[in-house]
Amino acid sequence: MAVSPEFLKAEREQPWRVELRSKMKNKERTALTRVHMNEVDARERILSNIEVNQGLNQVQAMAEAQRCLDCPNPTCITGCPVEINIPKFIKHIECGNFADAAKTLKETSTLPAVCGRVCPQEKQCESQCFYTQKMNAEPVAIGYLERFAADWEQNSGQMAIPEQAPANGIKVGAIGSGPAGLTFAGEMAKKGYDVTVFEALHEIGGVLKYGIPEFRLPNRIVDVEIDVLKKMGVKFETNFVVGKTANVEDLQEEGYKAFFAGSGAGLPRFMEIPGENYIGILSSNEYLTRVNLMNAANPTTDTPIISGKRVAVIGGGNTAMDSVRTAKRLGAERAMIIYRRGMDEMPARVEEIKHAQEEGIEFLTLTNPVEYLADSQGRVSQVRVQKMGLGEPDASGRRRPEVIEGSEYLIDVDTVVVSVGVSPNPIVPDSLPDLKMTRWHTIEVNDDNLQSSIPFLFAGGDIVRGGATVILAMGDGRKAAAAMDEYLQKNQ
C-alpha cells in the first residue's frame, strides 16, 4: 500500500516546491541548528497538569522547516507508519501555508495533533531523515513541525473536513475507539462507508483518554479530532461492549457487513510476587484511569484515588513514566521508577525520561521487586528489592538482567504502581469461538491485509500486536480500512 515513488516525485516537481528549493542552498539549510521545544519549567509544571511541551511558534516552525532539504528520495516517509508526505507538509510550513500543511497531514493521518505529541519520532521518521542517516547530525524536527501544523489548524477554528467519496450505504463497525479504531473510522468514512464506532467505556478515545496523561496529551486535543470524525458522519456508541451488549452476529442482523477489532490490550500484567494484592498496589491502567478518565484527583468527582507520599512505579516503559510523573503531580515526595534493566535498556521515549528526570523522579535501575510488606491493615508499607547485573544480550537484543545474590534491601512505600505490560483483552475473542488466536492470545491476522480467520473481521493495534504504540495502531487502522474496502467491493 506504499505511496508510489512516482506520485511523490510528481508532487516534488510542482513549481512551488522547485522554486522553494532554489531559494536557499542546501549548505545554508544544513548549517541551521535544530529548534528546541518550548517547555514549561519543571518546578512549575509538577504543580499542575499543564502540558509540558508548549509547541513551536511560527517563526521557530518556519525556520526549522528550512532545514528540510526536500530530498529527491524522502526516506523519512518510509519511517512513518501512516506514510505522511513529510517533505510536502514541511515545505508548506516553510512558505507559511499552515493550512495546506495541516491538510497534507490529514491526507493520510487521522489524528495529527495526537501523533505530533506522542509518536516516538526519534525511532521513526526522524531516524530515517537524511540528517540522521547521512550527516550524523540532528534530524529535522518532524514531530514538532507535525504538531505545529496540526495545532495551528485546531486553533484556527476551521478544521478542514477531509474529502469524502459519496455515501455507499454500507454499514461497518469499529470495535474500540482508541487510535486504531478512530483511524479506521476516519479512513472508511473517507471512502463513503457508514461507520459506527463501539466503545466499552463512557468516553471516546480509548488509551488516548484513559492512559496518556493531560500533561502529555490534553483531552481537548483528542476531542477536536473526534469532532472531525463526527462531522464526517462517523457514529459513536459509548457504553457498548461488543461481545456482551450485543454480539457480532446481532450486529450483522442489524446490517453491519464487516468489522474492525481494535479493542486494545486490556488485561494488565502483574509480577505474581508475594504481597502484590495488598492495598495500595495497583496497575498503571487502574492508576491512570482513575486520574485521567475519572478525574479522581479532583475533589468534586466521586471516584477515589490513593496516591501516597512514597510512590514506586515498577517498569521502564512510557506507561511507567506517565504513572510516575502523575504521582509527582499528585504530591508524592518520593516518586521512583524501579526497573530491572539499565537506563539504556529502558523502552520509554528519550523525551519522557528526560522530562521525568527534570521533574525529580528517582530512577532505581537494575533493581527488581521481589516482595511487598504491609502494615496491620493490609496496606503496602515496604517493597523488598534485589539488585541486578547485566549479562549477555537476550532474544530482545538487550542485555539480560541477572540477580546479584545477597543484594536485597527494603524501600518504604505507600503506593505501588505496577507497569510491567498488558495482555490482550479477551472479550471480543471469547465471543467469537471460531476466531483463530495466537499463543499470545492476540488475534491472528494475515500480515498483508489484517484479515482474521473470520473473513469479515479485520483487526489491528494491541489486540494483534500485544502492546505497541499509538502510531502503529493507527497504521493498522489505515491498512485494515484499505483491505476491508477491497474485500467489501469484491463481495458486493
Binding site: Y210, K244, T245, E286, T289, G378, I427
Partner: protein
C-alpha cells in the same frame, strides 16, 4: 441515556430501580452485572442485575446505600436518566441439572441470587433457599424467591422474622436433613466466607458470586483482582462466580476495605452539604 421507569424502596437503604436498557435486557443471563456511572463527575460502580423484561426493554437493579455513589443513585426518581450504563458484564452462570441446589442470599446478595435460583429451577433442580439478614426489614425479594424455590428458610440475626440465627445455621439445618448437590452463596464477603466454610465441611461444591471494587468492568484495570486457588483472577472478566472453596476471602475482605476511609469521609461531606442545602 437510560431512563428510570420504576422505583421501589425495599428498606430505608435498599432501592429497586427499573431502568430502560433494551439491549442489556435482551442479552443478560443469570450471573451478569452492569456498571453504572451517573453524571460527569460520577464514579463507575458495579451492580448486579436482579431481573429484566426483554419485551419492555428494562432491567432491574437493586442498590444499597453504602457510599456517596450508591446513595446518589438511590436518590434518583422515576423519569430521571442515568447517563452511563454498560453491560451485561461478566460470565453468565453455568446452569445445569444437578439435583438439589442450596441457594443462600445475604442482604442485597439476594438480588443477584434471584435470577440464578430461577435458572436452576427452570433447569429442573430442587431449589432450597436460605435468606439471611440482620433483621426483618432487610429481607428482600422474598416473594419472588418463593416463586422459584421449593423451600425457603429465613434467618435473621435478631429473630425479628423467620428463625433467629446466622445463615450458616440455616444451611446446616438443610444439609443435615438432606443431600445437597450444589450450593450457591451470594452476599457480603464475610457471609460468603463462612457460608463456604460450612459447605466445605460437608464437601458440597459451592459457587460464590463476588462483588469487588471495580473501575472499568472489562478486564482493563485489575482493581477487581482476587486470588482463587492461588492464582490471580479478575472478577469482571473471569467471574463474577468462582469456586467458593478456592477463593481467598480474607484477602478479598482486605481489598474491599481499600478506600473505606476516603469513602466514609466523602459520604459525610456529601451528607452535611445536603443538610446545609435544606
Amino acid at each position: 441515556m437510560n431512563k428510570i421507569v420504576a422505583k421501589e424502596f425495599f428498606s430505608e437503604n435498599v432501592v429497586r430501580l427499573e431502568i430502560e436498557a433494551p439491549r442489556i435486557a435482551k442479552a443478560r443471563r443469570a450471573g451478569h452485572f452492569v456498571i453504572v456511572k451517573n453524571g460527569v463527575d460520577g464514579e463507575r460502580i458495579p451492580l448486579t442485575i436482579a431481573g429484566s423484561d426483554p419485551k419492555k426493554g428494562t432491567i432491574d437493579l437493586v442498590v444499597q446505600r453504602v457510599g456517596v455513589s450508591s446513595r446518589k443513585l438511590t436518590e434518583l426518581n422515576v423519569g430521571d436518566e442515568i447517563t452511563d450504563l454498560v453491560g451485561p458484564l461478566g460470565k453468565a452462570t453455568h446452569v445445569e441439572k444437578v439435583g438439589t441446589v442450596l441457594a443462600c442470599g445475604g442482604g442485597v446478595g439476594v438480588a443477584p441470587l434471584l435470577p440464578i435460583i430461577e435458572a436452576f429451577k427452570l433447569a429442573g433442580n430442587r431449589v432450597i433457599t436460605v435468606l439471611a439478614a440482620r433483621n426483618k426489614d432487610l429481607i428482600i425479594l422474598e416473594e419472588q424467591v418463593r416463586k422459584y424455590s421449593d423451600e425457603v428458610v429465613v434467618m435473621t440475626d435478631d429473630g425479628s422474622y423467620g428463625n433467629k440465627g446466622l445463615v450458616t445455621e440455616g444451611m446446616e439445618m438443610i444439609i443435615n436433613r438432606e443431600k445437597v448437590d450444589l450450593s450457591v452463596v451470594i452476599g457480603p464477603a464475610i457471609m460468603m466466607k463462612f457460608a463456604s466454610m460450612t459447605t466445605k465441611k460437608h464437601n458440597i461444591p459451592t459457587m460464590a458470586s463476588l462483588n469487588t471494587i471495580m473501575v472499568d468492568g472489562t478486564g482493563m484495570c485489575g482493581a477487581c483482582r482476587v486470588t482463587v486457588g492461588g492464582k490471580v483472577k479478575f472478577v469482571c472478566v473471569d467471574g463474577p462466580e468462582f469456586d467458593a472453596h478456592q477463593v481467598d476471602f480474607d484477602e478479598m475482605l482486605l481489598r474491599l476495605s481499600g478506600y473505606k476511609g476516603i469513602e466514609k469521609e466523602a459520604e459525610l461531606n456529601y451528607l452535611s452539604k445536603n443538610c446545609n442545602a435544606k
